[in-house]
């Protein structure tokens, strides 16, 4: 891969996946500035490993696996803060947009209360990744995923309603 091809491929990957990965990071970290940093770390790693991609998995699987590893690695620094739902200024939003934004913040707060591995898994489910791809990203078996995701969905729904 030439430098120009590498650069073009990187830009393509960023355009396609940055939003989804940012949401995964936000779900994991529960805080926008941290999610931004995790995203940056993730794409630095993507750039560094781009030449190693052998096409054995889809680009999306490969890049999400890097993101999952970067997120799980963040815990080595410190425990993640849980996010208060009212930390985002909502005054500038219309009432409807404000309610939506509040729900989104509430959701991130609830996700941040799950164990680390579950945060990652539920973010992938919410991103509508198929089970086969989640299995490829995480290295877990599909059967195990089904059981686990069923439990996480239930847990998240309960937390969301308790907090709501």
């Amino acid at each position: 891969m030439t430098d120009a091809e590498r650069s073009a491929q990187f830009t393509r990957l960023y355009r396609q996946h940055a939003n989804g990965i940012f949401k995964l990071c936000l779900g994991y970290a529960g805080e926008e500035s941290l999610a931004q940093d995790l995203l940056q770390e993730c794409f630095v790693s993507v750039w560094n490993h781009l030449h190693q991609f052998r096409g054995e998995a889809q680009w999306s699987t490969w890049i999400y696996r890097i993101a999952v590893n970067i997120c799980l690695g963040y815990l080595r620094k410190k425990k993640l803060p849980t996010v208060a739902a009212d930390t985002v200024p909502l005054a500038h939003l219309t009432e409807e947009a404000g309610i939506k934004e509040q729900q989104v913040q509430q959701l991130y707060k609830c996700i941040s209360r799950l164990p680390e591995a579950d945060r990652v898994l539920i973010a992938l489910v919410l991103e509508e990744k198929p089970y086969t791809e989640i299995a490829a990203i995480t290295g877990l078996s599909e059967n195990n995923l089904r059981v686990r995701i069923h439990r996480i969905k239930k847990q998240l729904t309960e937390i969301y309603h308790q907090d709501g």
Binding site: F22, L34, V44, I66, L72, G73, A117, L156
Partner: protein, 200 residues
Amino acid sequence: MDDFNFIREIWKSDQAVPAAAAPARRPTVVNSGRKLRRQQLRGALSLLLTGAWIIIMGLLMRDILHAALTWTGLALVVLVCWIQSFLHFRTYKKLRSIDDTSKPAVHLSQWKNYYAFRKAQVRWNLPVYFVLLNTAMALYLVEILSGRPLKNILFFLLLYVGWMLFAYFYIGKKNLQKEETRISAIINDLESIEHQWQEE
């Protein structure tokens, strides 16, 4: 719409968009592999250059320094610097071998191995470094201090030994304990996540 679909709709409605450009502030993810690698590489290079600088200084002072003991001392200081440099470089290589593209369970265990290696390394490295460096300094100082007034020698030795003992037994031990606690906490965190990652 069931409860989880409602949550999914909220997730989809989130228009969170990452900043287009890299953030201007310094990243807060300070413990990233990238930063750790940079620290180790910087340490390796600076110690390599320190050793080279000591050799140059020694050569410039070759008319003043005559005793074989002094040269042995200088050579030992250079050796200590280069051994430390090698250790930094080895740590850097270990960090580089951690693969962000591997399966999360493998990735977590690679980090755990790295921290186990660091924990063992910090335990023996400080005492060995301290003993070797001070032996080298003692050899070097024999010629430098000889022929000087006794009270000056005693004053210098008191200051030097006092500082070294303080640095080793207070600062060094405190830092070592802090580092060991930090690494143990990290290993515990990794084990906890590893446990979460195991098949249910």
